[in-house]
Symmetry: C2
Subunit: 314 residues, 2 copies
C-alpha cells in the first residue's frame, strides 16, 4: 500500500505576451512540492507544514493546494484523508503560477493513491478548484501548463479543451522583483474594452506566434511575441518595466513581457548562455530602478509537466 | 520577345471566420483572368475590354486591375505600356476578393514582361495598390492568398510579412446571393470596440484554428473556426444568414461564415461529396429566404495562387 507520495509541479508563465488568459508554458526546475500522507483514520485533510513561504493559510479550505484535494475526496468518495506537507519554491503573488503549482502538485500526488487513476483532463478539473479560489475566476493558463508541460492553449474550459503547442527548445529567464502585485488588482486595472485595431494587431501576432512555434521559426517567434494590449495597461505596476524589458531585448532576447499578472518578467532566449546574460542585464536594470530584492531563474521550457518525486509503500 | 501574357488569379475567402482582416485562402477554379499586350508605342495603359461583368470603369486610373500596373510602370520606369483585357469570373461586391484577383492577375501577367522579375512580396506591394483604391484602406487578406495560394496570415504590411499556413485538403463551398453589400458599408457597421471577454474568446479560437491547420486536425478546425465578433454584426446584411449557416452545419460542414465582407457565405467540407450536398442545402435555404438569384461553387483550397495561362512570343 502506498502511504506517502511527493509530487513536483512547475512554475509557469501565463499569457506569454500574445495569449492573454489562454496561453502558458511551464519551467523546468522552479516549482512547488507537495507530499501527501494517506490518513486512514479520517477523511479530513490536514496541512502539517508549509515551507518556503510565510503567511499561507493552514486551513485546508483556504489553501489553494488543498481545495481541489477536498473536492476530489468528496467526489470520488475516498475512504481516507491526507496529511499534507507543502514546500513552496515559487514566491507568492509573483505571476509565476504559485497557487496553480501547489494545486497541481497536490492533485498529481493524490492521483497515485487512486485505484483507477484519473487522466490529465480529469485532474485538471480538480486542480482548477484551487486556482478558482485564488484568483476569483477560473483560469487555466497556469494550471494547464503546470500539469501538461510545454506550451498549452486553453480553447475552452466547459468542456475542457487544451491544445498542446510544440515548443522550440528555448530557455526562459524569469526575474521576480520583490514587490507585491495581487492578481485580482492586476486584473482590475484592465479596461473592459479594446479597440478593433488593437484586436486585429494582437490577433495577427498571436496567430504568427503559434505558427512560429509549429514551424520552429525563432525569428518569427521574435517578430510576433509582442503584447499590444495588456502590457501597456500593467507596466506601471512594475517599477522600471520598460527599461528592464529593453535590457532583455538589447541582449538578444526573443521576447520579454510580464509573466502572468506580474510583477515577474519573463524573457525567451535561444540558448542558456544568452539567457544568463539577459538575466544579469535585467537584474541590473531593476537595481537601477531601486528594486534591490530580486529572485531570478534560467530554465529550459518544461515539456512534461508535474511529476512524482517519491512514493513510499508499506 | 513576349508580346502578350494572360494570367489567372483565384477568388479568395478573407477573414475565414477567425481571422478578421488577417487570414484568407484561395480557391482553385474560380477567379479572374487578365491579358496584357505589350504596347511599345506608348507607356500608357488602355483597358480594351472587360468581360463577365458590367459597369466596371474603363479608366485605368479607376479600375483595380490597372491601378497597381500603372504604379509598377512608373516605379520601374518601363519603356512600354499595356493594352489590357479583363475577364471577370468573380461577381462584383460579392466578398470573394474580385478586386484583389483582377489586381493580382494583372501584376502576375506584368511580371512576365520584366527583365528581372520581381519576387512575390514585391508583386504584393503593387497588387495592393488596386485593393487600396477599392476598399479605401490597405487590406491584404484577399490579395495575399490570391497571389500566394493556400491559407495566408498577414502579420504586417509595413514591412510586408506574410506567413503561409499549411492547409488540410479541404473543399470550400461558396454561395453568393445576388444582393449588393459594399465592402465600405460592411465595414461601417462594425463597432470600433470589442469587449475583453470576446477578445479572449476569439483569440483562443484563432490560435486553435491555426493549430488545427498545422496538426491537420479537422475536428479541432471544426471546434475552432467560429466567429464570435464580426459575424453577429454583419449577419443582418444577409437575408436568412443564420438559417443558411445552420443548413451547412447540419450537413457536416466544418465551418460556415461570411466570406470577406459578404454577402457570400463560405463553408468548409471534408470532401467533395459533402461539399456538394452542403452547397445544395445552402442554396435551398437561401431560396426559402426569398433569394432566388444565386451563384455557387465547390472548389478545393488552392495551394499555388495566381499563375500564367498563356504567353505569346514574337
Amino acid at each position: 500500500m502506498i502511504t506517502s507520495v511527493t509530487a513536483f509541479a512547475p512554475a509557469t508563465v501565463a499569457n506569454v505576451a500574445v495569449g492573454f488568459d489562454i496561453l502558458g508554458f511551464a519551467l523546468e526546475s522552479v516549482g512547488d512540492k507537495v507530499t501527501l500522507e494517506k490518513n486512514l483514520k479520517s477523511k479530513e485533510v490536514n496541512i502539517l507544514s508549509i515551507k518556503g513561504l510565510e503567511g499561507l493559510p493552514l486551513d485546508p479550505q483556504k489553501n489553494t493546494a488543498t481545495i481541489g484535494l477536498l473536492k476530489m475526496i468528496a467526489d470520488l468518495e475516498l475512504p481516507y484523508g491526507f496529511n499534507v506537507k507543502i514546500e513552496k519554491g515559487i514566491p507568492i503573488s509573483s505571476g509565476m503560477g504559485g497557487s496553480a503549482a501547489s494545486s497541481v502538485a497536490a492533485i498529481t500526488a493524490a492521483n497515485e493513491f487512486l485505484e483507477k487513476p484519473l487522466n490529465r483532463t480529469e485532474l485538471l478539473i480538480y486542480a482548477l478548484e484551487g486556482e478558482k479560489a485564488a484568483s476569483g475566476a477560473i483560469h487555466a493558463d497556469n494550471v494547464a501548463p503546470s500539469l501538461f508541460g510545454g506550451l498549452t492553449l486553453i480553447r475552452s474550459l466547459e468542456p475542457i479543451d487544451i491544445i498542446e503547442i510544440p515548443t522550440p527548445s528555448l530557455f526562459c529567464v524569469l526575474v521576480h522583483p520583490d514587490i507585491k502585485v495581487e492578481t485580482k488588482y492586476s486584473r482590475s486595472v484592465l479596461k473592459p474594452e479594446i479597440s478593433m485595431n488593437k484586436f486585429i494587431q494582437q490577433s495577427t501576432h498571436l496567430a504568427s506566434f503559434i505558427s512560429g512555434c509549429f514551424k520552429n521559426d525563432l525569428d518569427l517567434i521574435k517578430r510576433s511575441c509582442i503584447d499590444f494590449i495588456i502590457e501597456e495597461q500593467r507596466a506601471h505596476l512594475i517599477p522600471g518595466f520598460y527599461e528592464v524589458k529593453k535590457a532583455a531585448m538589447d541582449n538578444s532576447a526573443l521576447a520579454c513581457s510580464i509573466s502572468g499578472s506580474g510583477p515577474s518578467l519573463f524573457a525567451l532566449a535561444k540558448n542558456e548562455k544568452e539567457a544568463a546574460q539577459i538575466k544579469d542585464e535585467m537584474i541590473k536594470s531593476f537595481q537601477n530602478n531601486g528594486i534591490l530584492k530580486l529572485d531570478s531563474w534560467v530554465s529550459p521550457i518544461n515539456k512534461n509537466g508535474s511529476y512524482i518525486i517519491e512514493r513510499i509503500k508499506k
